[in-house]
Amino acid sequence: MKTTVPVAVAFLAGLALVVSFFFREGTFVGDISQELTIWLTIVGGFTLLLGVVSITRVNWSAVKMRKEGWGYKLLTLISIFAMAIPAILPESWSSLFGRNEGSIYDWLFVYLDSPMMATMFATLAFYIASAAYRAFRARSAESTILLLTATVVMLWRVPMGEAFLNLLPGDIPGFLNSYVMNGANLAVQRGIIIGAALGAASMSLRIILGIERTYMGKG
């Protein structure tokens, strides 16, 4: 029963979505996919509580047991509730509540959350440099070709590098664009995309037909 019902639900939902794809919007069958997406959003909304319970339990137990770094865990808990509670409270009570401009939520989002996210994203530049250093070492013939190609393509991608390449005889930027990026690179990417799309379709079919049950911890 614990397996049969979810498999049956997966079969019906999957089949409905596949059939819906071939019908126009405005028809009963054609609108099923939109309807199911709304259901998914509603179910997702309810499960948000699970997330809050999980994060609170994990951090609170660390604070209670004074585990290493418990101060940070406490700060996490305070941050969660400091952001969530004023956002949930009605705006009619105070201009600090709700999510409009000037509210506590807005202030925390604009002046703390966004800059911190941007900082994390910006560190990517340094990580790319260290990963590139490791990836582009000329250890074999193949990696030397990779190193040379990457160097020229990177040079081409910056304005000063492109200006330099234009000084050389022959249309090097044009060659890079036609043969390296839109030739070899695109061909490989398309190969991966076709394989991945077929893999996704195959897995979807296995799930719809109940052959694949590993996502439920079965099989």
């Binding site: 596949v18 794809f21 071939f22 019908f23 126009r24 028809t27 069958v29 998914l40 179910v43 997702g44 499960t47 948000l48 509580l49 699970l50 997330g51 809050v52 999980s54 994060i55 994990v58 137990s61 290493e68 770094g69 959350d113 911190m116 996210m117 994390m120 994203f121 990517l124 990580y127 790319i128 260290s130 990963a131 590139a132 490791r134 990836a135 990417q189 991966i192 995309i193 076709i194 394989g195 991945a196 077929l198 893999g199 996704a200 379709a201 195959s202 897995m203 979807s204 079919l205 296995r206 799930i207 037909l209 052959i211 694949e212 590993t214 996502y215 439920m216 911890g217 079965k218 099989g219």
Partner: protein
């Protein structure tokens, strides 16, 4: 450069093909104006039927016991070895099932692999940590991991907080996981699912922490980052094949063979397209595929 059509008169054949196509298109145009079906998606419907038939056929053969050859996937063969390393070192295993919602097929593939990894960690009694970004993934992940521990007879060893929700924001999630890697120094990091800009942040941090790393994603734009920073990388379809590959169940392997058969058909279709385009007769052929 002169084309082959300048030497051979292919007009009668082209006329017959065009007549059939135009006649069929007239019927479709009438249906498109009044009907409820999306006639412009008939080509996709044909592909769905061919694909489903191939998978069901191979699955049926697999059920009957026909031996199926499957090439080695080193990244998946390394999973058990990597968990064993974590056990020997007395350090945890970190599993990240991507950062997308559960409606993403890559996340489901990640959760399927998580079940297999959890069985191995349960068997070796190795601590496992699974940070997730969405509550639905949390619920699915907890169910899968608990089931794995129960099946291995290690229910007492299961910790409800093995799978934990850490943050809904992409980079808050990344910061949390990176912090965990630097503090706890897991011996093995496994990334399986949908990843975006955080892929390199995670993989490079794991590399700096000295962990053995296995990654898998179907996003071509993230693959170079994983290849550069991880020990093993599953590319594209290998991620979806992982659950079948690890389970070794003939019925699931049949699905993979069916998929390979369709891939072969597509390769054949590409070759035919190249030949037709070279001859200058590709327009109708391409327009049929464009809306798939």
């Amino acid at each position: 450069m002169q084309k082959i059509r300048d030497y051979i008169d292919l007009r009668p054949i082209a006329f017959i093909i065009a007549y059939i196509a135009i006649d069929f298109q007239t019927v479709l145009a009438q249906e498109a104006a009044t009907g409820v079906f999306r006639t412009e998606r008939i080509n996709a419907l044909v592909l769905v039927f061919v694909f489903s038939t191939a998978i069901l056929l191979y699955t049926s053969w697999a059920r009957k016991g026909k031996p199926l050859f499957l090439r080695k996937i080193p990244g998946l063969d390394a999973v058990e070895e990597a968990v064993g390393r974590a056990t020997e070192m007395g350090r945890p295993v970190l599993f990240v099932p991507g950062i997308a919602e559960l409606d993403e097929i890559e996340t489901i593939a990640g959760i399927s692999i998580l079940g297999r990894v959890a069985r191995i960690t349960a068997q070796y009694e190795t601590p496992l940590m699974v940070p997730v970004r969405y509550p639905l993934v949390l619920a699915a992940g907890q169910e899968v991991v608990e089931q794995a521990y129960v099946e291995m007879g290690k229910k007492d060893f299961y910790d409800k907080d093995t799978v934990r929700y850490v943050a809904g924001e992409q980079f808050a999630f990344t910061a949390n996981v990176n912090g965990y890697m630097m503090r706890e120094r897991p011996a093995t990091n496994i990334y399986m699912g949908a990843f975006f800009a955080e892929s390199l942040l995670l993989a490079e941090t794991g590399n700096a922490a000295g962990s053995i790393q296995i990654a898998g994603t179907a996003r071509p734009e993230q693959l170079p980052f994983f290849i550069a920073a991880c020990d093993y990388t599953l590319m594209g379809e290998e991620l979806y094949a992982a659950s079948a590959y690890l389970s070794k169940e003939p019925v699931m392997l049949g699905g993979l063979k069916g998929q390979d058969f369709v891939k072969m058909l597509i390769a054949f279709g590409i070759i035919v397209g190249v030949i037709l385009a070279s001859l200058g007769y590709g327009a109708t052929y391409f327009s049929w595929f464009e809306s798939v």
